[in-house]
Structures are given as C-alpha cells and as structure tokens.
Symmetry: C2
Subunit: 130 residues, 2 copies
DNA sequence: AATTAAATTTATACTAAGTCTAAATACTAC
DNA sequence: GTAGTATTTAGACTTAGTATAAATTTAATT
C-alpha cells in the first residue's frame, strides 16, 4: 500500500462520483464529466475508477447488469433493484450475524464479505397512478 | 408460456449442465460439449442457455465475474466464492425471513428475490498443507 | 405424401464494456 | 536542471454476448 496519489483526473472523478445521488456506470461518469467541462481519456476513467475503488474511496457495484456501477458511499451496505424500472436503492440493514456464522460453519469458509442484491418492485411501480 | 421444446441441442446442453459438479461458463460449456462430440454453433449455445434459464430448468449465476456461470440445481440457493482459488460452493441456508421483511419495510419494495454472493477463503486455502 | 408455416440452427457480423500497450506528459527527488 | 518514476493519452485489442439473414428442421394441414 503506497501513499494516496490524487491526480487532477482522479480527484475530478472522485468528486463526481461522491456528488451523485444515483449509481452511475463508467459510461455515465464519462458523460457527466464531459458535461462539467472535463475531457479525460477513456482508459483514464477506467484506471481512475479502479484506483479509487482499490483505495477504498468509492465502491464498485456489480448488480448483474453488463456494466459495473459506482457508489460514493463507502459504508457497508447493499442494494435493491426494481425489476420494472431499473431503479437502484440502498439497503442499510446488514444480514444477521447468526446467518453469516451459520454459512461459515456449513461451508467451512472464512466469510469476509457478502454482496447482496435484492430484486423486487419499487413503490412507484407498485402504485403507478399515485 | 408455451410448451417446452427440447431440441437435440437444448437437450444436450441441459444434460451437460445438469451433469456438472461445478458452475461452468458458456465458454466452458462449449468446450465440454466439443469433448463429448457435439459441435453446435456459438449462438445456439447462448440461445439454448437462455431458453433453459427462462424455462426454469437451469440457473444463470452472476457472481461478479465478467462471464455468467450456469447451475443445474434449480432449488433456491446461494454461492460462496473463494478469493484465493476462485472455487465456488453452494450455500443452502436461506437468508432469514425477518431480515427480508425488514428490508421490504424500509425500502418500500415488494421483495421478490435476492442474490447473495459470499466472499471468503475456503478450507483448502486456509490449510494449505493438510 | 406434398405443401405451407413456424421455430430453430448456423455462420457471421456486430456491439458493449473493459483491458493493454507504447508514446507523450507530468511529477518527484536529487 | 536532470534522471527516474508515475500517470495520461490515443488507439488497438479482447471477451462476452447479441443480432441478422439464410438454411434447416419440425409441425400442421390437406
């Protein structure tokens, strides 16, 4: 682990991701950077996203779509995806420790981490004319 | 939903996936089919895997790698991936219903399904010289 | 059994997301 | 200021998967 090196590009990308209410893909990040007057090389954006992810400053979300999404919230949390509209919301309740212990015991693994993606239908899609 | 139509190709692919102890990718499935003397078009394998998945005969696993994996076990279950060796094991304990209810209440979603991928270190990697 | 219609397979072109590479640029330490 | 390292850039390349159009198979109708 070496010292954190936030270049202009990395800083701009970090700021952008942290300012997002949603969970943009790399392509969406590039688009928003361009709208803010930045124009970085394609590879630089991917490089920086990986660097920032490795540094623990942002999170990469793999929600089962083709592209990864990025999240400026670094606390441990999960996500729920609406099957109808594709919207993604945060889930802050952690899986019960009992369950994790049970899984560790049954599988003989040291469990370090879990990714959970819930799928369902969001409030707006349930009540279309509210 | 129309009647199930298991062509020669689909049947061979279903048989193969069901006979696997592991969770092969589409590329691995093609390779194993070839070893069994089958030679199907590239697109047919993808088509068939989707067909079989939609029919509920196999499952598509998105474990955060670049390629999907396929699983002949159709009961509801989850997976745990070893960070060291990449091995994937089954997790048969379901997440506690209380937790799911809590998530549904907090997010205002109807929760239909959850995908859970645990990450950790498997027994063999923990005890390298056993 | 021959004819038509529908579904499926095949081969191949294409797309999307991301990685790799080599040259150019920027930063750091002396 | 110069040498050395790290980063950015542009663009080629890779991987996984989708789309398309022609050929083949299967099923239904007569």
């Amino acid at each position: 682990m070496s010292r954190l090196n936030l270049t202009t590009q990395r800083k701009a990308i970090l700021d952008l991701v942290q300012s997002c209410e949603d969970h943009p893909t790399a392509a969406e990040i590039m688009e928003r950077l361009r709208m803010n007057g930045h124009q970085f090389a394609y590879g630089t954006v991917y490089n920086s996203l990986r660097y920032l992810t490795d540094a623990g400053l942002i999170r990469e979300l793999k929600l089962g779509e083709t592209a990864s999404r990025y999240d400026g919230r670094t606390e441990d949390h999960y996500h729920i995806v609406c099957k109808k509209c594709g919207r993604v919301d945060e889930v802050l309740s952690a899986p019960p420790a009992d369950w994790i212990r049970e899984v560790a015991a049954k599988t003989n693994y040291d469990v370090h981490h879990s990714q959970v993606v819930f799928e369902g239908v969001c409030y707006s899609c349930k009540h279309p004319n509210a």
